[in-house]
């Protein structure tokens, strides 16, 4: 049997296929198209192609993320918070706290030993602390998003970032460059500021080990490093699976669950 999860975010769209034994068959991540339905159709098509399957082969599909109610091939939809929590917990059942950094939001999720939602808090009013923040800084520093993490790790003296606003920070970074500041130190300062932002939010749900970060920013080793320093403990890092796929993974698990329940 084939179960599918589809997660359309503000910057990327993700889809995952698994079988009834919860083996992951395939997954894909792509940048969104202007229309969420089109994004979902496209990402699902790519994932199916990778798995050499067709849409008809899917027994049940859950959609999550932006515009989840509009996805035509989904049997049902579930909030991304639940999906992220479920997905992360499935990978490592010791996880109790998840910080999910989306393109345009920042969420802190607490789950119990069963992976069920205990509490969550979200910031979706301000871009600081979201994927957009790092994207803007990367652009200003003239590096790609994936280069930002390694650059931050090289920084020996992280430059203190004062502004809390994404746009103002971009200006500050431009000015620092004019004044000859080391780009690695700037990247490190930005990673630190991001970590501080994440900490401020996750405190509201209480930090309980194991702590994991999901979403694209989890791949930024600079942010991981500084967050570990702040919370004074190790953060669980996803090894063989992309941290960005957690939402789709959780959705697929929920798909299997719901299908089995309805049978």
């Amino acid at each position: 049997m084939i179960f599918a999860g589809c997660d359309v975010g503000s910057l990327t769209a993700k889809a995952l296929l698994m079988d009834e034994k919860e083996n992951i068959i395939a997954y894909e991540i792509m940048n969104v198209l202007p229309n969420p339905v089109k994004s979902a159709e496209e990402i699902m098509s790519r994932t199916l192609k990778k798995a050499e399957l067709r849409l008809e082969d899917i027994d049940y599909c859950i959609s999550t993320g932006y515009g989840r109610e509009k996805i035509p091939f989904a049997n049902n939809n579930i909030s991304e918070i639940s999906c992220h929590g479920r997905g992360a917990h499935w990978v490592n059942p010791a996880i109790r706290t998840i910080i999910d950094i989306g393109g345009q939001d920042l969420k802190a999720i607490r789950v119990d030993s069963k992976g069920e939602l205990v509490d969550f808090v979200m910031n979706d009013k301000c871009a600081a602390g979201t994927g957009r923040f790092l994207e803007g800084i990367a652009k200003t520093l003239n590096v790609s998003l994936s280069e930002l993490g390694p650059l931050a790790l090289k920084g020996k003296n992280p430059i203190s970032i004062i502004s809390t606003c994404t746009i103002f920070t971009q200006f500050d970074v431009m000015h620092l460059i004019v004044e000859g500041a080391d780009k690695a130190d700037i990247a490190a300062g930005v990673a630190k500021a991001m970590a501080q932002r994440m900490h401020k939010l996750v405190r509201k749900v209480g930090i309980k080990k194991e702590v994991a970060i999901t979403g694209g920013v989890a791949k930024n080793q600079g942010v991981v490093k500084y967050l570990q320093e702040i919370i004074k403990s190790e953060i669980y890092q996803f090894k063989d699976i992309d941290p960005q796929i957690m939402g789709a993974l959780g959705a697929a698990l929920f798909a299997k669950e719901e299908y089995m329940r309805k049978r």
Binding site: D119, I162, K200, R203, K204, G206, I207, K208, K232
Partner: protein, 465 residues
């Protein structure tokens, strides 16, 4: 001897000793302080504590205008902490209480009173990481970030085994509902009885009589539960000391009318801490005596606490002080010539409090009730806005303030609800502007010290004469 969790008391005690030694070496700044020599024979624990200290605060403490007073403070508070640690280890009854309380009575009942509000503020003031871990520990239990850091810090410390469980918890219903509820959590965790005395909404005589009954009732409950009774001679002694302390406080408040203000702002948080052990000992009285004598000398000799080239900006803090970076008050004087006239956490109006009649137990309880009824923070949060507003417009005029600063502790919702009325009234009555900013009194993460300085600097630049 019981192995009690007394880490916080021990840490503060060691810190007082370290600062005392540091001051006695004669260093007048952090640069001059030979830390190596100081720690030569020190044990590992002491070395660890020195590492934790906020260097700016130590620097401000060593400055000539602050050092004598700081020395008196650490000697007084250090002696008190010895008493607390000794009492806990000897199994005396430990009573946690809140800011407005009757430590004099508890002491004469041979109990150990500890004000839970003071300790986290001192921890936040003295150490680089403050009580942040304690706050986070409590929040992990399910409490939000928007509760008072002083309260969270103490509860977190209990969860981290840094302070012991009390035998009793004595709480007035002021200053706020959150404090009433939050400490019930501690009561549940420890099993200690939670005794509350109600402080009514008004501040008139009818209200005072009601309050006195409430306080009497609470005290009776404590006597009944503990089996301890008041040693009247001991109480008389503490009341005598209280009266002496009050005398100096009133005089100091008067002296601050002088231009320039002769009393450094760095002292206010220390005043706050010693108010919570009113009448504890001679050393506590000595502290206030030295504050007074130094201020008096400055007035008589025309000495100033601000640099010669600075024009004085007389500031009136209409609510709290920022408690996580004590060097800021010294910085204000040096950088901006800004002096500190009074604040909502330390004003004691003589006309309402007066002195305590010590002729018998009843008169002493009455006097202590009156003192606590008009305690700073307590007095302002009860009654209509008039009390708070009148208190501060009065000082603004009598002490010729140039500006007001509403350092709004973010958890004090009642304060924030009042702030516009207060600043409008101060503008109307005294013609001065108010700076309003948010901060969390015992957690620097909310508004970091650099940001506070920036905000204050911008404001001071717009004040002219």
């Amino acid at each position: 001897m019981k192995d009690m969790p007394i880490e916080w008391f021990k840490r503060l005690r060691t810190t007082c000793a370290v600062i005392e030694t540091g001051i006695k070496t004669g260093a007048t700044s952090l640069q001059e302080l030979d830390i190596e020599a100081l720690l030569k024979d020190a044990d590992d624990y002491t070395k660890k504590i020195v590492e934790m200290l906020q260097p700016d605060t130590v620097d401000a403490a060593l400055r000539p205008k602050n050092r004598n007073v700081t020395l008196a403070f650490v000697q007084a508070y250090g002696e008190y902490l010895d008493f607390v640690i000794d009492g806990i280890q000897k199994g005396k009854k430990l009573v946690y209480h809140y800011f407005e309380s009757i430590p004099q009575v508890l002491l004469s009942m041979d109990m150990v009173p500890v004000c839970v509000e003071t300790i986290p503020v001192l921890v936040a003031a003295l150490y680089k990481d403050g009580c942040e871990e304690e706050i986070d520990t409590l929040e992990a239990e399910g409490f939000p970030a928007h509760l008072c850091s002083a309260q969270k810090g103490f509860l977190g410390a209990y969860l981290m085994n840094e302070v012991p469980a009390p035998d009793y918890f004595l709480k007035p219903s002021v200053p706020c509902d959150p404090s009433n509820m939050l400490f019930q959590y501690l009561s549940k965790l420890t099993g200690a009885p939670y005794i509350v005395f109600d402080v009514p909404y008004y501040t008139n005589e009818r209200a005072f009589r009601y309050y006195k009954e409430e306080l009497d009732d609470a005290y009776q409950q404590l006597v009944k539960m503990s089996g301890n009774s008041v040693d009247e001679e001991k109480l008389k002694r503490h009341v005598e000391l209280t009266n002496k302390q009050l005398e100096y406080i009133y005089k100091i408040q008067e002296l601050r009318k002088h231009k320039p203000c002769p009393d450094p702002g760095f002292h206010r948080p220390m005043d706050f801490a010693l108010y919570t052990i009113f009448g504890f000992s001679e050393k506590v009285v000595d502290y206030f005596r030295i504050v007074y004598e130094e201020a008096k000398e400055r007035v008589e000799k025309g000495m100033s606490i601000i640099p010669e080239d600075k024009q004085e900006i007389r500031t009136l803090w209409t609510w709290a002080f920022e408690g996580y970076d004590l060097s800021i008050y010294h910085w204000m004087e040096e950088e901006h010539g800004a002096t500190y006239l009074a604040c909502g956490l330390t004003i004691l109006p003589e006309e309402f409090v007066g002195y305590i009649d010590d002729h018998d137990l009843d008169s002493m309880l009455e006097g202590l009730a009156r003192l606590t009824f008009h305690y700073p923070m307590s007095r302002q949060v009860t009654s209509f806005a008039d009390t708070w507003i009148n208190d501060f417009t009065k000082i603004a005029k009598s002490h010729k303030a140039d500006c007001a600063i509403f350092a709004g502790h973010m958890a004090c919702k009642h304060g924030w609800a009042l702030n516009k009325l207060l600043s409008d009234a101060i503008r109307e009555e005294a013609g001065i502007p108010t700076l309003r900013f948010e901060m969390d009194v015992a957690d620097k993460r909310f508004t970091p010290p650099a940001e506070v300085k920036k905000t204050l600097s911008e404001f001071f630049e717009t004040i002219r004469h």
